[in-house]
Amino acid sequence: MKKQRKILFLILFVAGTLLDWSSSQQKQDVDLYTIGIVIANEDRKDKVAGLKAGLQSLGLSEGARVQYVPVYLNAGQTLEEERSLVQDLISKKPDVIVTTGAHETFLIQQASTTVPIVFIGVASMAELPLVETEGTVTCGISNGQMNVIGKRLELTTRLLPDAKRFLVIADSHAPTTEQAIVEAESAASSLGIRLQVKQVASPKDLEQLLSGLSPGEYDAMLPLPSYVLEDAIIDCLPLLIEKQLFVMGAYPEQVKAGLYAAYGVSFHAQGMQAAHMVARVLDGVPPTTLSIEWPDDVRLAVNATSLSKLPITVTDQQWSLAQEWYGVRNK
């Protein structure tokens, strides 16, 4: 009798295990992917939000299919500290590392040549010296900034048809600056306007530069592609209003933060587009074959509240140029 009970128990146990395994098989035999995210700047969190939203829409929902391991770099950290953080991330063996800028990408490329890297939004190849070198596994989304410098100037002239004095701010440390200045001057020549190019080395420099301007000294300002300038411009918003200086930004997020206008690909859209790339990498597509993808959508965003603080009149026709509006139009 004991033997028979044991056999019966064994059979029921096997049946239970089989049922459990069968149901788990039917649920789906999915892997939980680990995605490392390196963010050098808090302002770029929209890229991450876009990435997560994009992956969610692709069926890679957080918790069920993917887990994120974010690494935040901040200005107070030394390069060694940043490298240590990156090394910690790599030791967790992520399936892919997503970076939100050239600096983060560069750090990962230095630390590992095997972990696939997908970057969200770089302005130019010049920012990524290792992308083209042998053995890298890097790909990503271009932010298109180097291509829309002329378009930004064009739209500035459409919004401020009477503007004559244009100030171009360039980051002296940015690797793209030289090329960007060429682009800007070429566009200015086409548009028949003249530019005053000034280079700054840091946000403090920019602040000093702007502080030194007298109100109305320049009609409009165009910051050239630079991660430093992107953020520094937002910080200088009160100063810009004070100096009544129109700025054509690079991202709709800047407008959302209070900048007058911007033409470019939003961080969120870049993140969404990068999500497709991440999904393909997780599916096993070698990153090198994906290389750098052109952004899908570019749009003009304007902030009515900020614009109303300038001594300019924006017509309905000019308003119709924009695809995103923020703030309240008083005039």
Binding site: I11, L12, A15, S57, L58, N147, K151, L191, D296
Partner: protein, 728 residues
């Protein structure tokens, strides 16, 4: 008896398990297979239909988008023609078009020679980089007044672009037109957003100008229906007809072994081709899951059924096993075993029946054992040895009497009869042949002798009875009777009878001897007297002396002959048989009886016709038979009566002797008893009543027969038939 274990497969438990499994799984599998087979065809039809509809819808949507784009461009161009806008207004007008068509990268109005008049690019400054459209077909198509849809080309940034253009046709002919560069990816996103695809497949788009498909787009995997490039191998070249009313289906095997199914359709408006490619594995993924599910369910059910079957079969077969075990024990001789009856169903009743059967068997067996003991007692009390031998003459059973004759009787069982106990018997040489001969010739008796433990020779009578006479080969029951005492008694009786006969013959024999002695005396006296008067030489010369001596010698020989016959008869018969002439025996006995014959003046007629009057016996036995029979005949015969003695040979191996008298005969009441010992009708002193009884004993011992026919006052005939000695 050792219980033999059944092979597992033959066990009731296993059979019940197998039955349970088969009855639960086989119908399930058959139904499942039929359903799957039917479903597979249905699923294939449904998949084909759904994919065809998808391709049709996608193509319709694409056509619609081209049409919409074309119409939007028509409207804008018409406004340009109607309103003749300034450069600024033209900018805003074109910008509106770009804004409302997210898939539009660039839009331009161009002159007749293709040079842009107004151009607006979504990414670039409109005055920069404005090369005229270089496609020859573009200008020729526009100049012919027809709308133009170009080939899909890849831009420097890696984007797939297609140029769509409409002509500006005036009364004076074509004056230029308007074109737009569309981003194919975004165009198809618009299309697929409207025609959603639920399953995973690849969408290939070609501009219809070549058979090569553009970069594939994967459908279905992104759940929002958005498009994405995927690294999918370009399908085999496929030339579609110029017009396809419905999507065409093609199946081929990809290089990785997957079976791929293509659904393609060419637009009648744009001539673009939309092709959906899906691997057969993906299309039937749900079906595979169903198959897998069926397999798991079957396995699960099988295990559950196995469990239930084990429980039921164990509970059911436990009692069966107890019954089987009990029956095995009963078969092995243990009749005390009883099965505990725990259920009242058929199995319980079977167990109860087994118990009843065992009880009945035990009772009957006990009765049989009692009977056997009783029979053994009787068999042993018979004083005969009984031995049961099988057809191979091996001893199977031996009774106590026979066991007592041999020292180690227990070891005799199973051994060859003739090689064990047969060694001690004189007649057991060639036992097998002799036994079969006895059975075949229906000879039941065989006399043998053996020397017992005391060195005494004992005589035995062997009788053999086949247990199955109807069979050629049969076991035998051998009955051995110790007849030593009986033989000795018979010999003593025969001797007594012989002495009694001598007593009765004594006076006659004395008379018979007295006569020659008287003659001897007279001749002696006469010779003595003549020798006194005459010279002996004269008597010798005349021959008278010789005559006297011859007569005296003759009389002496006569006396000697009588005494020799008497001595011969009265002596104990030697045991050894010899060839005896019955005619000589008759002659000898008649000499002994000659006085009585003469006294009664009986006429003895002899008719001795037996051609071979020899038989195997001891002479004394034969003399005793003849003497007894002739004595009885003489006694019965009156004076001057007749006695007839005759012999003949009724067959080659038989000898017949008649002794017939015409005396008083035997009363009918006495006739059945005349062969019994001590039965006599003679007065005391005239007979012992043993004569005929001894005769009967001797004749039967010799293998012969004796018959007595008698009619009172007319006479008696005694016929003795004996086996004759063959050959010399």
């Amino acid at each position: 008896m050792r219980r033999s274990r059944l092979p597992r497969i033959n066990r009731l438990k296993t059979k019940m398990l197998l039955f349970g499994l088969c009855m639960s799984i086989i119908p399930f599998l058959i139904l499942g297979y039929i359903n799957l087979h039917t479903s597979k065809e249905k699923v294939r039809e449904e998949v084909d239909r759904a994919n065809q509809i998808y391709v049709e819808n996608t193509l319709a949507q694409l056509d619609m988008l081209f049409l919409h784009t074309s119409q939007s461009m028509q409207v804008v161009q018409q406004r340009f023609l109607n309103e003749r806008p300034s450069d600024d207004d033209a900018y805003f007008l074109l910008n509106t078009l770009l804004k409302t068509s997210a898939y539009m990268e660039e839009v331009a109005l161009f002159h007749q020679d293709g040079k842009p008049q107004y151009l607006l690019n979504r990414w670039k400054l409109h005055r920069q980089d404005t090369p005229k459209e270089r496609d020859n077909q573009f200008l020729s198509t526009i100049q012919s007044g027809k709308p133009y849809i170009g080939s899909i080309v890849r831009s420097a940034e890696g984007k797939l672009l297609v140029t769509v253009a409409i002509p500006h046709v005036s009364a004076n002919g074509v004056k230029g037109g308007m074109y737009a560069k569309l981003n194919v990816k975004q165009l198809l996103e618009q299309v697929t957003l409207r025609a959603r695809y639920e399953n995973e497949a690849y969408l290939f788009v070609t501009d219809g100008k070549s058979d090569r498909f553009a970069d594939p787009f994967m459908l279905g995997k992104p759940s929002d229906g958005s498009l994405t490039y995927y690294e999918q191998a370009v399908p085999l070249s496929w030339t579609l007809p110029d017009r396809t009313e419905k999507p065409v289906i093609r199946t081929y095997q990809a290089s990785n072994g997957d079976v791929m199914v293509n659904y393609a359709m060419r637009s009648s408006v744009t001539h673009w081709v939309i092709m959906l490619e899906q691997s057969s594995q993906t299309a039937f993924a749900a079906f595979s899951k169903l198959e897998q599910s069926l397999l798991f369910t079957t396995l699960f059910i099988a295990l559950i059924v196995l469990g239930i079957s084990i429980v039921f079969s164990v509970s059911f077969s436990r009692l069966m096993e107890k019954i089987e075990s009990a029956v095995q024990k009963i078969a092995g001789g243990d009749l005390s075993v009883r099965i505990p009856v725990t259920t009242s169903d058929e199995i319980g009743r079977l167990a109860a029946s087994c118990n009843a059967m065992a009880q009945s068997l035990e009772m009957k067996t006990n009765q049989l054992l009692e009977e056997k003991k009783r029979l053994d007692l009787v068999v042993s009390g018979m004083g005969m040895g009984l031995i049961l031998v099988d057809e191979s003459f091996r001893i199977r059973w031996i009774n106590q009497t026979a066991s007592a004759w041999f020292q180690d009787a227990s070891n005799l069982l199973g051994k060859d009869c003739h090689q064990t106990i047969g060694q001690q018997f004189s007649s057991c040489n060639g036992c097998m042949l002799r036994t079969r001969q006895m059975v075949n010739e229906k000879q039941t008796d065989l006399i043998s002798s053996r020397v017992d433990q005391d060195g005494r020779v004992r005589s035995y009578r062997h009788q053999v009875f086949p247990l199955h006479p109807e069979k050629e080969s049969s076991a035998f029951l051998e009955v051995i009777e110790d007849i030593t005492e009986k033989r000795e008694l018979e010999a003593a009786i025969a001797q007594a009878d012989k002495l009694a006969a001598i007593g009765l013959l004594a006076s006659g024999i004395a008379h018979e001897i007295n006569n020659p002695l008287g003659i001897l005396s007279v001749y002696g006296q006469d010779l003595r007297d003549r020798l006194v008067d005459e010279d002996i030489r004269d008597l010798q010369d005349t021959g008278e002396l010789t005559q006297y001596l011859d007569t005296m010698d003759k009389q002496i020989n006569r006396c000697k002959e009588i005494t020799t016959r008497l001595l011969h008869f009265s002596g104990k018969s030697p045991v050894t048989v010899e060839r005896v002439d019955i005619h000589q025996v008759l002659s000898d006995i008649l000499i002994l009886l000659s006085h009585e014959i003469r006294v009664k003046q009986v006429t003895v007629n002899q008719s001795l016709l037996a051609s071979a009057p020899y038989l195997l016996a001891t002479p004394g036995q034969l003399q005793q038979i003849v003497l007894n029979l002739l004595t009885n005949a003489l006694y019965a015969t009156t004076e001057r009566g007749n006695i007839e003695i005759a012999t003949d040979s009724p067959s080659n191996d038989r000898l017949r002797l008649w002794i017939r008298d015409d005396g008083c005969g035997i009363p009918a009441a006495d006739l059945p008893h005349v062969l019994e010992p001590f039965y006599t009708t003679k007065p005391p002193g005239k007979g012992t009543g043993l004569g005929l009884s001894v005769c009967y004993g001797i004749v039967t011992n010799l293998g012969g027969e004796i018959e007595i026919e008698s009619t009172p006052n007319k006479g008696t005939t005694v016929t003795v038939i004996l086996p004759s000695a063959k050959g010399e």
